[in-house]
């Protein structure tokens, strides 16, 4: 699928950068896993193939994290990984000869650039969705215009105060639990006395699965 970045899309340029980093990370990780020998020779790291394989697994894991919906932790973990890479390449620069030594030095420079890019992307992701202002105080938004005390139990009181309404709702309870129409619902239709009982209100949706007299075994 083609991604589109810009004002008509929820994806920004920062998202494009992060996705690029994530894909690069997975690609590099796969290369380190399948061809550690070649990479070791290139950078003067012979004998460290298993370390390179481990780095490959790390790159793939951080790549998956970078492509996730919350890439910031993975990007910072990449920065830490970049430092490990630079330390390893420094060994190649120290012990390597000729072209391998030169490659290791170039590699250190490249990884330093990638580390800067990772850190920059992580910073951009911190700003995703805008700045985080101090927490707002929504304590004036109760949504209960009658006030808390009058609201508590308002619906229950209203139902118990009006028998006709309670009758209707009790029938609805029967309907929702499956006992619709027919004699069963008729027979158990509540009387006015039932409706006045606060235990039998609309809130008791779903009849008790077993009546009180039924034993389980």
């Amino acid at each position: 699928m083609a991604f589109k970045y810009g004002s008509n899309s929820s994806l920004s340029g920062a998202d494009a950068l992060v996705r690029g980093i994530g894909l690069f990370s997975i690609g590099l990780g796969v290369a380190e896993l399948v061809a550690p020998g070649k990479i070791a020779r290139t950078f003067g790291l012979e004998g460290k193939e298993n370390l390179l394989r481990a780095f490959g697994a790390r790159e793939i894991a951080s790549g998956i994290g970078t492509l996730s919906v919350d890439p910031q932790p993975a990007l910072w973990s990449r920065v830490a990984g970049d430092v490990m890479d630079m330390a390893t390449l420094a060994l190649g620069a120290k012990d390597g000869q000729g072209e391998a030594k030169r490659n290791a030095l170039l590699g250190i420079g490249a990884v330093a650039g990638i580390a800067a890019l990772d850190a920059f992307a992580a910073t951009l992701m911190a700003k995703r969705g805008g700045d985080r202002p101090p927490p707002a105080d929504y304590s004036d938004r109760s949504g209960l215009p009658l006030g808390l005390e009058k609201s508590r139990g308002y619906y229950r009181q209203k139902q118990t105060a009006g028998p006709a309404v309670a009758d209707r709702d009790a029938r609805d309870d029967q309907r929702h639990s499956g006992a619709i129409d027919g004699k069963e619902a008729q027979a158990s239709e509540p009387t006015r006395t039932d409706a006045a009982d606060p235990v039998q209100t609309e809130t008791d949706i779903g009849q008790a699965p077993l009546s009180a007299g039924v034993a389980l075994s």
Partner: protein, 394 residues
């Protein structure tokens, strides 16, 4: 027309798409006046729900004015002002007749796909994956409503959009969650997640008479909104949920627990969170069920777990033994929106409930693509976004 269109993970675009047309006799088309971004839209935004296709129009909280009606639709006429339940319902099948509207047997036109995934079909939903019918959503200038002679809520003129819009989803979802708790006057109800559904569930629990409501969330602004309706708040980043709940309930735990978080929960326990994130990233589990685990362990034996939070697939490390041995009752499901419409309109009309309290951001539809990241990142103190197609950009 213009609409918000899904193209992939975190990729929502404001695009021109073909105008909807009447396709069946029971259809209607509305001109959208208000729509909202729902928390469950973020599951699509994050591509955690299977079955989305590039080009799908998103949105399932929508209201507007009827501009065209199908020939068999006798319930609506041009000019009617309606809110659109997010569940598409026929009103005729066995489940609809029982009031179980969210599992309508008729309206999911991809019923085979749903059956293969869930064992049975569920109702068609607007803008919410091809598992639920692949119907175009309502974050758009116009919306075609299938089975519109049943799938609508007529809005009284005296109720403004800002109050009526939430009859489509979050208000009945919060209400259903509270009703499912079978609240008794001496109950403690604990709600995980102070997002829009959690906020509605809190007000519902109060109106249904709960003695004490506890709200759990990491975000101070959400907790302040919860405190405004009388909740005792817990920030798991600052204190132990277990210790505080025990303190508030004489060590017994809350009788009723509501999961208003769902599949993208964040755990305050880092190893647990990393475990779930890693498994989810590697597609070894679809959902992060931290809240469900915590709820099962915190709830008082014999209590009720009510789960309005959306789950999509397979969960890992859920302490089912505790659930069984504590004798907990689980009630869940997508919302049977129309089952609750009458009483909610009555509460609004009585002046007992004003659901507009939850709106923190109102923006033109055109700004939808930038409002998704704002809502997603919880930046700018964002709790609920309402989009208006006709609103001018600032």
């Amino acid at each position: 027309m213009k609409a918000l269109v899904w193209h992939g993970k975190q990729d929502i675009r404001y695009e021109t798409v073909p105008d909807p047309k009447i396709e069946e006799g029971r259809d209607a088309i509305i001109k959208v006046t208000s729509c909202a971004i729902c928390g469950s839209d973020l599951h699509l935004f994050h591509n955690f729900m299977p079955g989305m296709m590039p080009g799908d129009i998103v949105g399932h909280e929508t209201m507007g004015e009827v501009v065209e009606v199908g020939r068999d639709n006798k319930a609506l006429k041009v000019g009617d002002r309606i809110a659109v339940p997010f569940t598409i319902t026929c009103g005729e099948c066995e489940q609809c007749r029982k009031g179980n509207f969210s599992v309508c047997e008729t309206t999911n036109r991809n019923a085979k796909l749903a059956k293969a995934t869930f064992g049975h079909t569920t109702a068609g939903l607007f803008g919410y994956t091809h598992l639920t019918g692949g119907y175009p959503g309502g974050q758009a200038e116009y919306l075609r409503i299938p089975f519109a002679d049943h799938t609508h809520i007529k809005v009284p003129d005296h109720i403004p959009d800002e109050q009526a819009l939430f009859l489509t989803d979050i208000l009945p979802t919060g209400w259903q969650a509270a009703v499912y708790c079978d609240i008794q006057p001496d109950d403690t109800v604990c709600i995980w997640g102070a997002g829009p559904v959690g906020q509605m569930a809190l007000r519902s629990a109060i109106l249904l008479g709960a003695r004490q409501v506890v709200m759990i969330d990491f975000l101070p602004e959400r907790l302040s909104m919860a405190a405004a309706a009388g909740a005792i708040t817990i920030n798991p980043g600052e204190e132990s949920v277990k210790e505080r709940l025990e303190e508030l309930t004489d060590g017994k735990g809350p009788e009723k627990c509501i999961d208003a978080v769902g599949l993208e929960a964040h755990s305050q326990i880092l190893p647990e969170h990393l475990y779930d994130r890693a498994k989810q990233a590697m597609m070894m589990e679809t959902d992060r069920p931290h809240v469900l685990r915590e709820m099962i362990l915190m709830c008082r034996p014999g209590g009720i777990l009510s789960i309005p939070g959306v789950y999509g697939g397979v969960l890992d490390k859920v302490p089912f033994g505790a659930l069984m041995n504590k004798g907990l009752t689980v009630r869940t499901g997508q919302t049977h929106v129309k089952r609750w419409t009458d009483e909610l309109i009555e509460l609004i009309a009585d002046g007992a409930l004003d659901p507009s309290f939850v709106i923190t951001h109102t923006a033109p539809l055109k700004e939808g693509p930038s409002m998704y990241p704002t809502f997603e990142s919880r930046k700018d103190n964002c709790i609920k976004v309402v989009l208006k197609p006709e609103m001018e950009a600032a």
